[in-house]
Symmetry: none
Subunit: 222 residues, 2 copies
Amino acid sequence: MRVLVAEDDKGLRDVIVLGLQDNGYRVDAVERGDDAIDQLKWYEYDVAIIDWRMPGREGIDVVAWARKHDRPTALLMLTARDTPADRIRGLDAGADDYLVKPFDFGELLARVRALQRRPRGVDAPVLERGRLALDPVKRLVVVDGRAVGLTATEYLILELLVRRTPAVVDRKAIAEHAWADETDPLGSNAIDVQMSRLRAKLPSAGFRIVTVRGAGYRLEEV
Amino acid sequence: MRVLVAEDDKGLRDVIVLGLQDNGYRVDAVERGDDAIDQLKWYEYDVAIIDWRMPGREGIDVVAWARKHDRPTALLMLTARDTPADRIRGLDAGADDYLVKPFDFGELLARVRALQRRPRGVDAPVLERGRLALDPVKRLVVVDGRAVGLTATEYLILELLVRRTPAVVDRKAIAEHAWADETDPLGSNAIDVQMSRLRAKLPSAGFRIVTVRGAGYRLEEV
DNA sequence: AGAGCGTCGTCATCGAATCGACAGGGACGA
DNA sequence: TCGTCCCTGTCGATTCGATGACGACGCTCT
């Protein structure tokens, strides 16, 4: 199973490469976007892990190139920043999934496995935590088989929390993720209110939204 | 039951072949359009699954060839892009049904079953949801045995919703599917109006068109 | 060609869902 | 114990979607 890693931060790149190799993957790594395109041009990878910001070519250019040329590789983007606009651009360009930094390596492994298991683009990755299942493509949240009606904002926040579990997500990250106008809700209690509403709608979903005072929020399995 | 798979993307081809074999089909696979024609020339398949874009010959050429030579094989096209023009070209060439990538494998299975169930040329409705039957080839909608008169635009939108059930279909997808000029109706409320008309024409068809505020629309069985 | 019909986009209006502001109270840490 | 941070109920503004009316356009039939 061949994986291409395109990431310019040497530390992170090494972690990913070594971790994947430990798990039996055959891994190539590049640190520039144009090098990534070259590799994709000449070799068939099953999965490519592509950083958003890179010298040479942006990650999104790499994704767009791969899609345009109909490469058979599943594309997983790594994004450091995370605004709705960015996310939409990434998925529109043809990424199959994305991970927001910082991420848990186990999570990366799980998504790589999910990507290699399915034909490109065919089945959306479903996020699961506890008794909750969250389908980003169907935009559907299900607890114990029953759909839960979330508003757009609630959904975005929950998705972020689930994707980052078990890390603490700070208010700034939440604001950037769920609001296009990145900083507006920081001065207000809009985030608090949304959290309250989320907790009310997901009373016993197999996890809790835990407040980490002064730092942010975190999802915790019960 | 013999099936021919013509698909150049190795990953997708393998998934389809293995999946069909798991379900008891005898499967042959090729990766080029001209090879597909050769196979169809010498063997009788019940169903052929044919990718639109392939090296050698385009999928549409394969379909046209099979029709011209009166092969007894039901033809299912796989199309990546999805504009009204493409779709019409495919069906005009003689495909019996089509699937838009990305698709769910269960959906593929269902359509293969539907195709093998009917003798070629005798058109049976292929899409069914609740008490609604929808025939993509004849562009006909039937509820409880009674035909419902839908306009072209209404039909296209309903078809998309049915095919994607139970996923949420966003306005952009609807616009691209039902309007050749992909972005025009996004700034207007044309989509809302069409939805309203659809709902009015299909009052108790065994499903509801559910609005997912801020995300799109979704078909829900009653 | 012209009448008649059907289709579809636009507009205006209405209703409802959503979301942030606010405020009072509670929890936590120093 | 005090100050700060957080929780949550209520309320109103705003946005978003639904729907009826209208008119432009294209087709068909005569």
